[in-house]
Symmetry: C2
Subunit: 363 residues, 2 copies
Amino acid sequence: MEMKRLKVSAEGKHVYDIVIEQGFGDLARQLQFLDLGRKKVCIVTEDRVAGYYLQEVESLLLPQCASLKTFVFPHGEANKNLRTVEDLYRFLIEHEFDRKDLLLALGGGVTGDLTGFAASSYLRGIDFVQVPTSLLAQVDSSIGGKTGVDFDAHKNMVGAFYMPKLVYINIDTLRTLSDRQYHSGLGEVIKHGLICDLDYYHWIWDHRKEIAARDPEVMASMVEGSCRIKRAVVEKDPKEQGIRALLNFGHTFGHSVEKLMDFQLTHGECVGIGATLAAEISRARSYISDQDYQEIRELFDYFDFPALPDQVSVDRILEETRHDKKMEHGLIKFILLDQMGRAGIHRDVSQEEMKASFRAYRP
Amino acid sequence: MEMKRLKVSAEGKHVYDIVIEQGFGDLARQLQFLDLGRKKVCIVTEDRVAGYYLQEVESLLLPQCASLKTFVFPHGEANKNLRTVEDLYRFLIEHEFDRKDLLLALGGGVTGDLTGFAASSYLRGIDFVQVPTSLLAQVDSSIGGKTGVDFDAHKNMVGAFYMPKLVYINIDTLRTLSDRQYHSGLGEVIKHGLICDLDYYHWIWDHRKEIAARDPEVMASMVEGSCRIKRAVVEKDPKEQGIRALLNFGHTFGHSVEKLMDFQLTHGECVGIGATLAAEISRARSYISDQDYQEIRELFDYFDFPALPDQVSVDRILEETRHDKKMEHGLIKFILLDQMGRAGIHRDVSQEEMKASFRAYRP
């Protein structure tokens, strides 16, 4: 495939590029504009990803930078917290990293979010680049500058808006994901189509077989398509004061389920459950047809999305949702589909409507 | 005195105002533009300041906002750390503060820095206002958006550039400072004159008696003068990529002494020591005259600044300085006086020059 490059702006100014490639071969060249030769670089990654890619990335970067260090932390959402960030601060202090040096996040959403927040706050901000290796991170979390960690089991409660200097996407890393990891990333892909771009949604439906088979060309087009949508949204609303909230489609219930399941389901799986429930509320309001709703469920089923586990009670989800940060002045901000391919923010979704969506979901 | 108002811009856009007043009487009115009636407000303060001013500020704000909470932490630099920030996060979560709510930092530099960092990172950023009550905070730390906490005894190692919505300075609070607190704030005032504005420095020299006597009119002019200088510098360089570093005059050694003394000396006292040493290096290089150097020492002596304690060895200070964050690519960035009223950044100060400055300081 040919290298793809998307330019991302904020307030009219170019801020960083997203590069989509097969392989890590071009990484060092793409980083040259950062004057690597004068910098210490710290690769931040987790044990699982390290096993697959660390050696290759290290060997590519080592000849290019003034000094190369690697910080490896245990994988998993449970480690996306301030304790890991503090371990990283300590590591950077120990190796005398200063404001002109660079962090490189190699891994999935947890790695990118955590590294980004550490970069935003170490010495009041040092540069970082994203090298996302999961589908979720490639199409969603690495783009747009949202960084953060969980706090006392509250998702992304602590963080910053802080832009990377580059997002380098190696499509080949998608091949080493488990089926479950890969499919859960598809939750965000389907979401992008549903909320913003009906053509893209239809393209996903039409290519579901190649997508499931991880056809490289189709995956590259899919990642590019989702990156374009995500870029368009974050460029219009970098600080989530307006339409960027639409990206939270599926997240209102999704975050609650994720927390109540104690992170035994993946983020993407929970977003899939939340998206189905939000689509059901949209159907009940006649914003979308019964048939559209059925097709959405079918698509998630096709990609083996799990159902809402029986042990999670509706009442606990609703209570948890009240605590979620998308609550504004006591009102829950709900993202619904106003029609297929277009989402809207709704502050008038009643507790009864929410409960009804669960009854329709698992009658 | 008449209310004074300075407007602060970043990148050509107005960002916030500094209001200088006698009393807290106008605080609620000055906050009205933030739509207080729809907001939860959390006053963040420390036990000592709370004893003086909390009741008055609470009673003024309570009728104006949707809900008012107060978070009090134990005073002192030793509590300017992530543990206190985490306690504050927990407090905000418990009281269901969301992105549209407001923090109000009531206190000195520790309170402002810590509250600002919590505001920058709670839910990726909520609004905050500064109500600085120490001289140091009024003329320096509350202005310019530098926030942060110490980490493993490294000063301001973790933080963010994050602007307040308003800085409300009540000159009267300077009357309740101990002599030591007040005088130590004068370290920054003298620094402003030395690095940027010879007329202002002469004005301080000429008014040293009234300043020491805490004459209200003279204090108001002094705070305004220092705020103007600080504003001019941070407007030109909001992220400390260039001339803002000049404000670190006296801080290179100052921070090291502060840490080695385990915070038994105040920040301002350490800056005074550091400024004297940096002035001595400037004198040794013939950038300023012997007479100018003597006058600087005399001025610090006049305000009862302490000498460098004997128990702190030069070698340990130099070693600590190497770890300081103003080191860039292994070179210590030193701020010297190129002449009286004008500072410059120097990366060529040798270890021998540094040692010589200590020998001249305490022969």
